[in-house]
């Protein structure tokens, strides 16, 4: 444990400052073919014609791959957990977001690859598209996904992530004030400086060597193997040097298609997305629609929270159900609210599929909770620090999903912030600790609900 609390020199620091760090695109592979994608120009459309022959016949084009070439085209990011897939690797009949890949080309150089993509003949019939997660949830919204407009495969076939804790009706009956709020953080692009990139080399022994910028190497390997319907021992992934990811490189964006093209052409392939593709076509952090209503006493105890969350999954599910699950488990933030009634849905729209970004699913609700708590404090005329300290997680409290906190950090963190800002607090708050609430500080209505800390 020598490293804990110490300032350890970065193992890669000197390599970074001498230009010796080898990122994916810095691997020189002789004869590597460039990859470009034909992407949907529409948010939602039926593909009525697709003819790749003009591209295939061009000089310098080594391979063209469409949905028909993919051994298993539809495979979900959560399929390894037994959840059915919804997203095709390459669109065939239908496109559901602007930038969705339809065909990929490998050619001798970047210009030829792009010219070949431009030569592909394709026609569409546009369909209505949905961009707002709340409107997509309306019962009369156009249906845009084969599963309906929201994800139906949570445990036990439920169509939402649901939390019920305590007695929500009693909490609202006891409340002096009910504070409501709607919070809608927008999509954010992770924006790593290194765009999505990979290089794939078909080796003489029949295996593929894949230089990947993935943040999730073994996961990506599983995804590639599944689409290609090949055993894992056919792939050698070389990773570890990521030019920034921030969650955006958890999805397997380039490796599978580059592998298919390498196999079909017999040539090494390389695909680096342009900055424009990265912005328009790579997954983003989701937009969310959160509605919360808190049952509050005059002196600032939050007795209960009712909440519904609509998570914008974009056109396909990817990891969204996982994000909503984390969101649900953290939906009270760093605070303990004894009575909860939460429903969270993964709603489909025609936006770029959304995915992980730094605190997947949690940052949205932290933002909502902190804003909401400040509003409650304002409404009650209570110091926002005192309100937070009152409701802070304590040892023995339970999270929304029933995990018992053994070492919560809310109280010391808020006290540190108050110190840092020079914010004055009354003595009984200043001396608060994470120890279980004493009877003196435990309001009567909570005694019954939180129970005797000794029992935990």
């Amino acid at each position: 444990m020598k490293a804990v609390g110490a300032r350890v020199p970065r193992y890669d620091g000197v390599a970074h400052v001498t230009g010796r760090t080898v990122f994916v695109e810095d691997v020189e592979i002789p004869g590597v073919a460039w990859v470009k994608a034909l992407r949907s120009p529409h948010h939602h459309a039926t593909i009525t014609k697709l003819d790749t022959r003009p591209a295939e016949q061009m000089k310098g084009v080594r391979a063209v791959v469409t949905a028909a070439d993919v051994p298993l085209n539809v495979y979900g990011h959560l399929s390894a957990l037994g959840i059915p897939g919804d997203e095709p690797l390459l669109a065939d009949a239908e496109v559901r977001y602007l930038g969705q890949p339809i065909a990929v080309v490998a050619a001798d150089d970047e210009q030829t690859a792009q010219a070949a993509v431009d030569a592909i003949e394709i026609e569409f019939e546009e369909r209505p598209a949905l961009f707002d997660v709340r409107k997509a949830f309306d019962p009369d919204a156009p249906q845009i996904h084969q599963w309906g407009n929201w994800y139906p495969h949570f445990e036990a076939g439920m169509d939402r992530r649901q939390i019920r804790k305590g007695d929500i009706d009693a909490a609202f009956a006891q409340a002096d004030v009910i504070v409501q709020g709607v919070y809608r953080p927008a999509a954010i692009e992770q924006l790593p400086l290194e765009t999505q990139v990979c290089q794939v080399v078909p080796e003489a022994n029949g295996r593929l060597t894949i230089y990947s910028c993935t943040q999730a190497l073994y996961f990506s390997m599983g995804v590639v193997a599944a689409h290609l319907q090949q055993p894992l021992n056919k792939f050698k992934f070389v990773g570890g040097t990521v030019g920034g990811g921030f969650g955006g490189k958890v999805d397997t964006a380039t490796e599978t298609l580059c592998s298919l093209l390498a196999l079909k052409s017999g040539r090494p392939t390389k695909w680096r997305w342009t900055r424009e593709e990265e912005f328009l076509c790579s997954s983003t952090r989701a937009p969310w629609h959160m509605e919360m209503a808190d049952a509050v006493t005059k002196d600032g105890w939050i007795l209960g929270r009712r909440m519904i969350t609509l998570h914008d999954s974009g056109a396909y599910a990817r990891f969204s159900p996982y994000g909503v699950t984390k969101h649900a488990f953290h939906h009270t933030g760093a605070y303990t609210i004894p009575n909860l009634h939460f429903d969270g849905w993964c709603v489909f729209t025609n936006r770029t599929p959304t995915s992980a970004m730094r605190g997947f699913g949690v940052t949205s609700v932290s933002f909502a909770t902190e804003t909401h708590l400040s509003r409650i404090a304002e409404e009650l005329g209570i110091d926002p620090f005192e309100l937070r300290l009152k409701n802070a997680n304590r040892i023995g409290d339970t999270s929304p999903n029933g995990v018992v906190y053994t070492d919560p950090s809310t109280v010391p963190t808020i006290l540190a912030i108050a110190d840092h800002l020079g914010h004055e607090l009354p003595a009984d708050y200043r001396t608060m600790t994470s120890e279980p609430r004493s009877d003196g500080l435990l309001p009567e209505h909570l005694v019954a609900q939180v129970g005797n800390p000794e029992d935990h």
């Binding site: 490293a3 890669d12 620091g13 970074h16 400052v17 230009g19 790593p192 400086l193 920034g244």
Partner: protein
């Protein structure tokens, strides 16, 4: 046409409108300048052209006949780091490292032109560079330290807010 890159002259064969960035990376195998956006927006490709910091993704190579190009490969190697390189290591100014080459070249030009440890002046000089990892504070710390002429023992790193200066390698 010719380019002098880090002291060596090369005859260039790429077509005339190829960007300097592509010539360096694809023709000459000089990989420290990075492809971040190819539109002048990030600074990952910045190199020195006749001593001035330039975005190599915006420069058609035909306009550079006879120019002297300096990249990170032309700064110090691991055993002989320039102060600004050592400062980046010491101050944790590189995380993923993708923006680092461009920033080092901009910082090198800033210091060579007499730049001081004034944080605002540094921010102004490096203002075109995007770093998504570090939040810039440590980058400015590093450039200021190098501009001041601080000396660094790379087995010891900069002190943090809550931790002391200590090397993980020490017994």
């Amino acid at each position: 046409m010719n380019l002098n890159v880090n002291g060596r002259t090369h005859e260039i064969e790429s077509p005339p409108l190829t960007t300097l960035l592509d010539v360096l990376r694809e023709e000459l195998g000089v990989h420290s300048p990075k492809v971040g956006c190819e539109q002048g927006g990030c600074g990952a490709c910045t190199v020195l052209v006749d001593g001035a910091p330039r975005r190599s993704c915006l420069l058609p190579v035909a306009a550079l006949d006879g120019a002297e190009i300096t990249t990170v490969e032309g700064l110090g190697a691991a055993e002989h780091l320039e102060p600004v390189q050592a400062a980046f290591v010491h101050h944790y100014a590189a995380q993923c490292g993708f923006c680092t080459s461009g920033l080092l070249m901009a910082a090198t030009a800033y210091i060579a032109n007499g730049g001081t440890d004034d944080r605002e002046a540094i921010a102004e000089a490096l203002g075109g560079h995007v770093c998504r990892c570090t939040g810039y504070v440590k980058i400015v710390d590093a450039v200021a330290a190098a501009a001041r002429g601080d000396e660094f023992d790379l087995s010891v790193t900069a002190a943090g807010l809550f931790t002391t200066t200590m090397s993980g390698g020490a017994a």
